[in-house]
């Protein structure tokens, strides 16, 4: 029997993505098969590649004593959208918690001149304020200050698993009674620092990426933000909230293997998937779809395919899997939250999005690689999987709110 005090539900979703603002915009764009990945030049001098950019982002009114970085700006836009999506007045969020993930923080506000001569750089007009936005905690502060939220607030940074981990930790916090509701998600912009870093690692595909394809060549970076409004079922029903989805299970672990490479056999990720299903008290047959991490790098995708082989072996039918990074790139600290939103979209609509440009998939008998057309089927439960540099893995299991 469901314990309404221990069941975590999603009552709002906010999105800032290359498709535009809002879940509807994201859903319409993805269902149409449109990819936001495009040739990009000069994000730093000499850069030429493929990214997914948000071209129009309205400036925010000045209500925060510090400077908004682009990371902050994306987060604030997504939170505003989540609040609008929930249909609630802002005032209801006053005692809420904020758990915001990112990896870039205020690096967008800084240039090489800071490292060359910090004192002079800070003395330039606006220099100190630019420096203030550097810590990755600033994003959570900016959200709290902008919306007048005064519950527990913190930032998470666990590389590319950050956004999913923020959601998992927020769920734990709700079970602890730390706040009546929590706004949890991630935000990350494109910036020269990370583009240069991934470029130096030769991890970027110059063309639109092809996750899980035998001929995949790397990832494309994107930018965006996604925020979920989480609360207990008891709280949501008490205020007659519209329940979009139920977070049935979540798990986090670490490969303890390598700084940048996943454990080759995907054993850490397979364990993480198993732990999330144990928490949800379900068998692997009950999962109808996995939204994969699927970056398109040679190392990630084979490890992930191996993880699915281990975690879903013995099912009655192969597990349907797709990577939606083929639509809007890898949004780093926002990726896990954006893909959680895509997974919620799937359980709400029963529409399983294919991986774009997947022509020759990795051989994996336990996996049904989704490609070609959108598949429509009843989808009681779906999983979103995230991994990151340093070996962190996260799995989130969602059910439709109608359940």
């Amino acid at each position: 029997m469901t314990d309404i005090h221990k069941t975590i539900v999603v009552t709002g979703v906010g999105i800032a993505s290359p498709y535009g603002i809002g879940l509807n915009c994201l859903q319409a764009g993805m269902l149409s098969g449109k990819s936001c990945l495009a040739r990009t030049k000069d994000l730093y001098p000499g850069f030429e590649g493929t990214t997914a950019q948000i071209h129009e982002l309205a400036p925010l009114p000045k209500t925060f004593s510090s400077r908004y970085s682009r990371t902050d700006q994306l987060a604030v836009v997504a939170v505003a959208d989540a609040i609008a999506n929930s249909g609630c007045d802002r005032a209801i969020f006053r005692e809420s918690g904020v758990v915001m993930a990112n990896t870039v923080g205020g690096l967008t506000e800084i240039d090489t001149g800071l490292a060359e001569g910090p004192s002079e750089w800070y003395r330039r007009p606006g220099g100190l304020l630019r420096g203030t936005s550097y810590p990755f905690a600033h994003v959570a502060d900016a959200v709290g200050a902008h919306f007048g939220i005064r519950g527990p607030s913190c930032a998470i940074s666990v590389a590319c698993a950050s956004g999913a981990i923020a959601i998992a930790l927020a769920a734990d916090m709700l079970l602890d009674g730390a706040a009546p509701m929590i706004l949890a998600g991630g935000s990350d912009p494109l910036c020269p620092f990370t583009l240069s870093g991934f470029n130096s690692l030769r991890a970027l595909d110059p063309n639109p990426c092809s996750p899980f394809d035998q001929n995949r060549k790397g990832l494309n970076l994107g930018e965006g933000s996604a925020v979920l409004i989480l609360e207990t079922l008891a709280a949501a029903t008490a205020r007659d909230a519209n329940i979009l989805a139920v977070l049935r299970g979540w798990a986090m672990n670490n490969d303890a293997f390598h700084s940048t490479a996943p454990q080759t056999q995907g054993s850490g990720l397979a364990d993480c998937i198993r732990l999330s299903m144990e928490m949800a008290e379900i068998s692997s047959d009950e999962i109808g779809y996995v939204n994969a991490h699927g970056t398109g790098t040679p190392l990630n995708d084979i490890a992930e395919a191996n993880a699915y082989e281990t975690a879903f072996r013995g099912r009655n039918s192969p597990i349907p899997v797709s990577s939606t990074k083929s639509y809007f790139g890898h949004c780093l600290g926002a990726a896990g939250a954006l893909e959680a939103a895509v997974t919620i979209m799937a359980v709400c609509s029963g529409a399983l999005l294919p991986t774009l440009r997947l022509t020759d998939p990795i051989e994996s008998p336990s996996v049904d690689w989704l490609r070609g057309k959108v598949r429509r089927q009843p989808l009681p439960l779906a999983m979103s999987v995230s991994s990151g540099f340093g070996g962190s893995n996260t799995a989130l299991i969602f059910a439709s709110g109608r359940s």
Binding site: S157, V158, L175, S259, G390
Partner: protein, 355 residues
């Protein structure tokens, strides 16, 4: 974290700080800031600094050559904390060990180095080995890799209460059965860009510029270092015959606003703390209001241990040092409230039982 859940215990302490690399409590001694030599300064500049040391000299076999100082310190401090706890990780199910790390600024040394390499060679010519080590989560990842810890691995931050949040989140993971044991770390390294920000913002103490002035001269003296605590679920601790318990965490709260007195009285329930350990946010003006708040909550008879400058200099990640330094004063056993406030940005509080 609600007050009614089973407590979690602190069974090991390790630190890398201006006091050195230490397992267990920190010997009581007065510490003065030392001169900055890592970068060229216009005249004397002082801070509480970790003196250079060879990590492999403390933890045999440790390789830290390409790592940020913060990652290297995390490896040393975590090793010392496990040693202090008497834990042989080889005998443990390491998929049940979590890492929770708090940092305000992350790996600033290598972030600076990455920017300098971009300045020298262009953004197309940056060093691939440096980039992954600039991530704020790199120290926590290295702790997992070095010790083979396969449980949850989380890096958290908050402008004022990052250390307190790490303790509360680790306790939550233990209580929800997502781990049996957690290594909690908090700290930051002091880099040129950070020190310069404090300086240009006018936040530094006169003692940073004048060696004749003591650290008590007032103002903010930046500090660096990392502290580590081993935390165990009560069930796990009971299964170890050699466990030494420093304290038990009963509950914890933090908020970005609201009424601290009301929330903390609710949190304390029937507990009446006999000791209050006050933290702060690095700003000298924060300590006095925190003490006053503690007095208002706990009454006049409560013993208050004030924060020490070395821990205050760590700003948002000083909580673990505040706690270790307070425990090192050998306070009376009993219940303690560990409290931090930041004037307009809320408060954090943990209720501990000292043993």
């Amino acid at each position: 974290m609600t007050p009614n859940l089973p407590p979690v215990t602190i069974t090991g302490i390790g630190s890398v700080s201006p006091y050195g690399a230490l397992a267990g409590l920190i010997p009581q001694c007065a510490l003065e800031p030392t001169s900055i030599t890592a970068w060229t300064t216009a005249g004397l500049r002082r801070a509480f600094l970790v003196q250079p040391f060879r990590p492999a000299g403390v933890v045999p076999g440790l390789k830290t050559r390409r790592l940020d100082r913060l990652s290297a310190w995390a490896l040393v401090a975590s090793s010392l904390a496990f040693k202090d706890a008497g834990i042989d990780l080889c005998q443990m199910d390491r998929s049940r060990v979590a890492v929770v790390f708090a940092t305000a600024f992350g790996c600033v040394d290598l972030t600076e180095a990455f920017y300098l390499s971009a300045a020298a060679h262009g953004w197309s010519g940056t060093d691939p080995s440096t980039f992954p080590e600039t991530l704020p989560s790199a120290p926590a990842s290295h702790v997992s890799m070095f010790h083979g810890l396969r449980g949850p691995n989380v890096t958290v931050s908050n402008k004022y209460f990052a250390g307190e949040i790490a303790l509360i989140q680790a306790a939550s993971l233990l209580r929800h059965g997502q781990a049996d044991l957690a290594i909690v770390l908090a700290g930051d390294a002091l880099a040129r860009t950070l020190y310069s920000w404090y300086e240009v913002a006018g936040l530094l103490s006169p003692a940073c510029y004048n060696s004749d002035l003591l650290s008590e001269a007032g103002g903010f003296i930046p500090s660096e270092g990392i502290a580590a605590l081993v935390m165990e679920s009560a069930k796990h601790e009971d299964s170890r015959s050699n466990a030494h318990t420093y304290g038990r965490i009963h509950s914890g709260r933090w908020t970005a606003g609201g009424q601290p007195v009301e929330v903390m009285r609710q949190m304390l329930g029937d507990f009446v703390p006999i000791l209050t350990v006050c933290s702060g946010n690095g700003a000298p003006c924060a300590t006095s209001p925190t003490s006053a708040l503690a007095r208002e909550i706990c009454g006049d008879r409560t013993v208050i241990i004030l924060p020490q400058p070395v821990a205050l200099g760590l700003a948002g990640t000083g909580a673990l040092f505040h706690l270790i330094l307070a425990l090192s004063t050998r306070p009376t056993n009993g219940q303690a409230l560990f409290l931090a406030t930041a004037a307009n940005s809320g408060f954090a509080a943990l209720l501990l039982e000292l043993l």
